[in-house]
Symmetry: C2
């Protein structure tokens, strides 16, 4: 559950970079809930995230269209989570919306 | 040195998602070298990365233009590093090139 699929281009990426505040404060549970909820939204294509030990993390969600991104942004439970995020979970974040224009992948067959 | 600046749009993001093989095998030193080298390239705008304890990582470099991305892709030392990466460091990776169309940020003043 790490790599998102590579859909037909073009599609959209929402790149979220964030530094967390200290302590969990309900973050992990809510992050799981939001990841599940996002996957039920029309136009959702996938999600990837990684967080380093120093608290800096990247999370990227992939969407079919700008409209799908707007729908998710305004989904009521997600709006509430974003408010808590701004107030409690994040010290600093940036959001970038980008149109994916090409992609490729490499996977080894020999895992040895 | 975590957040990249938010330049004037539009600009480009190269989103690299990867799962590492086990062991360092010279990876960390080369990653540092490549990060420094990329920053000297024309059109370079910034770099962000995070790696989770499970070995899945995201690295995003930002560039002024498609031409800047192509120049970096074909830079000789970088080409050599990419070959080693395919052969030794990565079990699986995906690359997406995306045009950043909008962005915003939040930063708390009160760190308490």
């Amino acid at each position: 559950m790490s790599f998102a699929a590579l859909p037909d281009i073009p599609y959209y990426a929402v790149i979220f970079a964030a530094r967390r505040t200290e302590g969990d404060k309900g973050y992990a549970d809510m992050a799981d809930q939001m990841e599940e909820l996002a996957a039920t939204m029309p136009g959702y294509l996938g999600f990837e995230s990684a967080r380093s030990a120093n608290g800096f993390g990247l999370a990227i969600s992939y969407w079919e269209s700008e409209q799908a991104i707007a729908n998710w942004k305004h989904q009521a439970d997600h709006q509430q989570a974003r408010e808590i995020g701004r107030a409690q979970w994040y010290e600093h974040y940036t959001v970038r919306v980008a149109k994916v224009e090409r992609s490729y992948s490499m996977k080894t067959n020999d895992q040895g």
